[in-house]
């Protein structure tokens, strides 16, 4: 890894630079979210088939992308834990898990609320919906496993292996609509040959995606700072216990 990256990933340095970055990240999130919501509700036209219901897309699709993006980042961090044994790698993965789970939950709920008026049902056990539900359960399982193992180092390695095993679900989610006959529509933005959505809907969607991504990064940065503090607190509590003993 480049030395500059290793320097920035030092926990104390991370606390320092991330503390200065966070206000800018939150302002950027607020501005992007404001513009994205304005475009989604007041500028983007209703769909010729779905009507106004298409507005659920502007919150559903970014949530679904972030559900997968969060897990992909966790898989990268798991490699950092297993290969380089970098302490910040486990901090990053552990911090992202509840945030990724929340975005996956939102993708499921908003998808369900979009599905009822369009498909006539809140839920169907097709490949896309089921594989995203599996992703949500994976997130919950990883959070539970981190909490179940007392030794943080052992927990980090154990969970990192499971994260990498679970990463096989990401291509299944992405290509489920191509590999199987699903009720869910095929990809219309991230596809070979370019997006099939009209620009009047694509731009609001992309701006909402950027806004939600900034939100995700801001929350992850805050959660990582908390996790570093939690580990320092644990060390101090052990020191206090040893001193008292």
């Amino acid at each position: 890894m480049p030395m500059a990256f290793i320097e920035l990933a030092n926990p104390s340095r991370f606390l320092d630079w991330s503390g200065r970055l966070l206000p800018f990240l939150w302002v950027a999130t607020g501005v992007a979210l404001g513009i994205g919501l304005y475009l989604s509700f007041f500028v983007a036209p209703p769909d010729y088939q779905q009507g106004e219901t298409v507005r659920i897309m502007y919150i559903h699709v970014p949530s679904a992308w972030l559900a997968m993006f969060g897990y992909a980042l966790m898989a990268s961090a798991a490699l950092g834990t297993l290969v380089w044994r970098h302490p910040l790698a486990d901090v990053a993965a552990r911090s992202m898990a509840p945030i990724g789970a929340a975005f996956t939950f939102l993708a499921l709920v908003t998808g369900s609320l979009w599905g009822k008026p369009m498909w006539g049902t809140y839920w169907v056990w097709d490949a896309r919906l089921t594989s995203v539900l599996v992703l949500f359960l994976m997130y919950l399982g990883l959070i539970a496993l981190w909490r179940a193992v007392d030794d943080p180092g052992r927990a980090a390695r154990l969970v990192a292996v499971l994260i990498l095993v679970g990463a096989v679900n990401l291509p299944i989610i992405k290509f489920s609509v191509d590999w199987w006959n699903t009720l869910h529509q095929p990809a219309s933005v991230l596809r070979i040959g370019g997006p099939t959505i009209d620009a009047s809907m694509l731009w609001p969607l992309l701006i909402m995606a950027v806004a939600m991504m900034l939100f995700f990064l801001a929350l992850t940065t805050m959660a990582m700072r908390n996790e570093i503090l939690r580990r320092r607190l644990r060390t101090l509590q052990l020191t206090a216990a040893a001193t008292a003993g």
């Binding site: 106004e52 659920i56 929340a102 939102l106």
Partner: protein
Amino acid sequence: MDFGDHGGFIIAAYVVSAIVLAGLTGWIVLDGRALRRRLAELEARGIRRRSAKAETPP
């Protein structure tokens, strides 16, 4: 703004999203405050990290 026949579904999607994201943000903020408070309590009792002790002038 008129969302048509399915307005309830659109509003519910955004309301649920707002509640989940606000709840998540609030939880992370409160967790951070609690951790800083507990760290400050321990440091006030003279329990510090080795690296923090080294940074402290004699």
